[in-house]
Symmetry: C2
Subunit: 152 residues, 2 copies
């Protein structure tokens, strides 16, 4: 298997994973500190999805760190297949959660004529923005993994 | 480039494209016949996104039909790159639109204690279901295209 930027066990791969963890954790932190997120199914789903993202990306970040420290290559086809499936599942869930939350945020901000609780609404917006950033970084990772698997 | 099920210019590829057009058109039809979709940004976005899906998939279905009729293979790398980009963009937009609409539908049905207009709500649900089915078929197409491009 070829070795290019973003593949498992490279520094760029590790940076991508750390970015995913940071954005997902930021999204959870911003959402979980609001007082009414549990009234909205989509916001609860966002927290669950971002939580899964943090666990998955953190696991792979640790694996990348180990690979970098021991100078091992993680380009085993079975391992890469596993990464591809995990990345695709988390990317799809993240996009769905971010979009569902964005739909509700736009509904409250725009369609229903503004949000009343100023501080809460800003937190919802920040959380959705972080969720989209998290999805973007996982999406890049998943494309790289899929390319690595397909190119052999 | 290899020739496997679902690649451009094959019968399975054509069937996938027709399914995408049918599901997306069904979603638009169900949503556009409600009387209040224009009050919701997410529902308008769903119609726009499904409209784009119909145009894109219909174009490729016609191209597949032409390729099948003239027994030509459409496995030119530049052409496949174009298909990959188009499929990925429409798949991402479709999932985002379907999720945003699903978020709002769940908000009205579940979080806010049931939907008052019975007929309208069923139409929203059917539209969202069709949108997800449309996304699923485009997603399969986009994976096949990406694999075809990467495997060379």
């Amino acid at each position: 298997m070829k070795n290019f930027a973003g593949t498992p066990g490279t520094l760029t791969g590790l940076i991508l994973r750390i970015a995913q963890v940071m954005f997902a954790a930021g999204s959870i932190a911003s959402m979980a500190t609001t007082s009414s997120f549990f009234n909205f199914t989509a916001f609860c789903y966002l927290i669950a999805s971002m939580g899964l993202q943090v666990i998955w990306s953190l696991g792979l970040a640790l694996l990348d760190t180990y690979a970098l420290a021991t100078k091992r290559l993680l380009h085993n086809p079975i391992l890469v297949s596993l990464f591809v499936i995990g990345d695709w599942v988390t990317a799809t869930l993240s996009l769905a959660a971010a979009s569902a939350s964005a739909g509700i945020t736009i509904l409250y901000f725009h369609d229903l004529g503004g949000c009343t609780a100023r501080m809460e609404c800003q937190k919802y917006e920040i959380s959705v923005a972080f969720a989209f950033l998290s999805w973007l970084t996982v999406f890049i990772s998943s494309l790289i993994m899929f390319w690595l698997l397909a190119a052999g």
